[in-house]
C-alpha cells in the first residue's frame, strides 16, 4: 500500500509545483490535465527503474540458496509497479473528471500503451540490474541522469514551446514517444495515430531485446559476483 500512496503523492506534489512555476507561461490548453497525464507515465518509469536496479544484488540470499532464475527479480519489480500504476490511473481518472477529461472508450487504449511502456522498462531493468551486479554505481549514475531525462521530456512544458532546432534532441529520447502516446490517449480528443503506436512498439521491442541479450550474457556470473 505504501507504494501505491507514493505513486499517488509524488505526481500530485510535482503537479502543484508545475502549476505554480510553469502554468502561466505554458501556452497549453488545460495545463493540469496535460501535466498529470505525462507525470503518471513518468513516475511509473522512474519508480520501476529505480527499484529494479538493485533487485538482483538485493536478493543475494535467495539466489545463493535456491535455484531461482535471477530474471524473476527485475520482472517482479516491473509487475508490481505496473499494478501500482493501474491503481494510480484509476484514482486519477476519477479526479481528472474535474480537470476536464473526456470519458470515452478511447481511454481504454491506455492499457496497451502502458503494457508497451512496461516492456520497454523491463528491458531497461534487465540491463541496469545485471550490469549493477558487477559495477555497483549503476544505480547512483542512473539516479543522477534521471532528472535530466525528465526535463528533456516534454512533460511540464509543451513540445511546441521548444525552438525547432532543438526538436531533434527531444526526438532522440525514447521516453518521449511513450509519454506522447499516453498523453494523446488521456488528454487529446483524437485517437493516437498508427505511427505513434509503431514507434512505441519498435522502441520497446528493441529495448527488451538489448536488455535480455546483456542479461543472458551476464547471468551465469551473478552468483560469484553478488
Amino acid at each position: 500500500m505504501v507504494g501505491f500512496f507514493w505513486g499517488f503523492i509524488k505526481p500530485l506534489l510535482y503537479l502543484l509545483i508545475f502549476i505554480v512555476v510553469f502554468k502561466a507561461n505554458s501556452g497549453v490548453h488545460n495545463y493540469i490535465l496535460y501535466v498529470t497525464s505525462g507525470l503518471i507515465m513518468w513516475f511509473f518509469f522512474s519508480n520501476v527503474t529505480g527499484q529494479s536496479v538493485g533487485s538482483i544484488v538485493g536478493s543475494t540470499g535467495i539466489l545463493k540458496s535456491l535455484n531461482i532464475p535471477a530474471y524473476f527479480f527485475p520482472l517482479s519489480e516491473t509487475i508490481s509497479e505496473l499494478f501500482n500504476l493501474l491503481l494510480t490511473l484509476i484514482v486519477f481518472m476519477v479526479i481528472m473528471h474535474w480537470w476536464g477529461i473526456v470519458y470515452s472508450l478511447q481511454l481504454l487504449l491506455i492499457f496497451p500503451c502502458v503494457i508497451l511502456f512496461a516492456i520497454f522498462a523491463l528491458g531497461l531493468n534487465l540491463l541496469l540490474s545485471s550490469v549493477n551486479v558487477f559495477f555497483r554505481d549503476v544505480g547512483i549514475i542512473w539516479g543522477t541522469i534521471q532528472p535530466a531525462i525528465f526535463f528533456l521530456t516534454p512533460i511540464a512544458y509543451s513540445e511546441s514551446s521548444i525552438q525547432s532546432q532543438y526538436h531533434l534532441i527531444i526526438k532522440c529520447n525514447p521516453i518521449y514517444y511513450f509519454i506522447k502516446l499516453g498523453r494523446t490517449i488521456l488528454y487529446d480528443p483524437a485517437p493516437p495515430s498508427w505511427q505513434m503506436w509503431s514507434h512505441c512498439l519498435i522502441i520497446s521491442a528493441f529495448m527488451y531485446i538489448v536488455g535480455q541479450f546483456v542479461f543472458n550474457r551476464l547471468k551465469n556470473q551473478f552468483i560469484s559476483a553478488i
Partner: protein, 242 residues
Amino acid sequence: MTQDPIIKVENVSVSFWQNNVGVYSLKDLITHRKSPFKSKTILNDISVEVNRGESMGIVGRNGSGKSTLLRTIAGIIKPVKGKVTVNGTFAPILAIGAGLEQELTGYENIHMLLALYGSERKNTNAIENIREFSELGDDVLRMPVKQYSSGMVARLAFSISLANVSDILIIDEVLAVGDQGFQAKCMDKIHQIKAQGTTILFVSHFPEGVLKICDTAILMEAGQITHRGPAAEICENYKLLF
C-alpha cells in the same frame, strides 16, 4: 543400498569471472580502461555419483570448491562444461552468511523461503515446526535477521531447510556455529531424515560430524576430487592435510 544414482555429475567444470584489480564501479572502469575480469577455474573436470539414500561427506580446505560443487549440483551455478543430472528435489541450501535475507525478519524469511520452495503459503504447521525446532522465541523471529547472532542464524537456517521433506538434503557448514545442545539435536534429526531414505550431502570441517553421518566421502583440493571412498578413510586423508 540400491545402485540408483540420484545425482550424477559428469566432467563438470565451473569458472567464475574474477575481478582482481578492484574495479567495482563504472567510474573505475573508465579510468582503468581494461577489462577487469579474468576467468578463474573453480571446479576442474569433476565427476561424482551419489546413490539414492546415500550420505556423502565433502571435506577439503577453505576455497577448495566444496560450496561451489554443492551449488552446481543444486542448479544454482551453471557449469561451463559437463553435465549435472539430478532426479529429485532439494531443500534450500542455507550456508552461513548466505541464504537468509538480512533485512527481513525471521518470519518473513520463513514465509519467503517456504513460498519459493513451493510449499503452500498458509502452511502454519510448517512455520510452527520451524519455530519449535529452532527454539527461537516469537520476539526473536519478529526481528530482522541482521540482528541475530551467528548461532541464531544457524538455528533458523537449519530449521528451514528441514521443514520440508525433500529427496536431497544439503548441509553446508550450518552446524558449526550452533551450541552443543543444538548440534546434538541436529545430529539426531539428520539421522532421522537419513533413516527415511533421504540423500544427504554434508560439507564440514569436522571429521567427527562426517563420520557420524556419512557412509562415503570425497576430499577436494583446488577444484578437484583427490580422494574418494568410505567416510572413515577419507577423514584420515583429510587430517593428513594439516
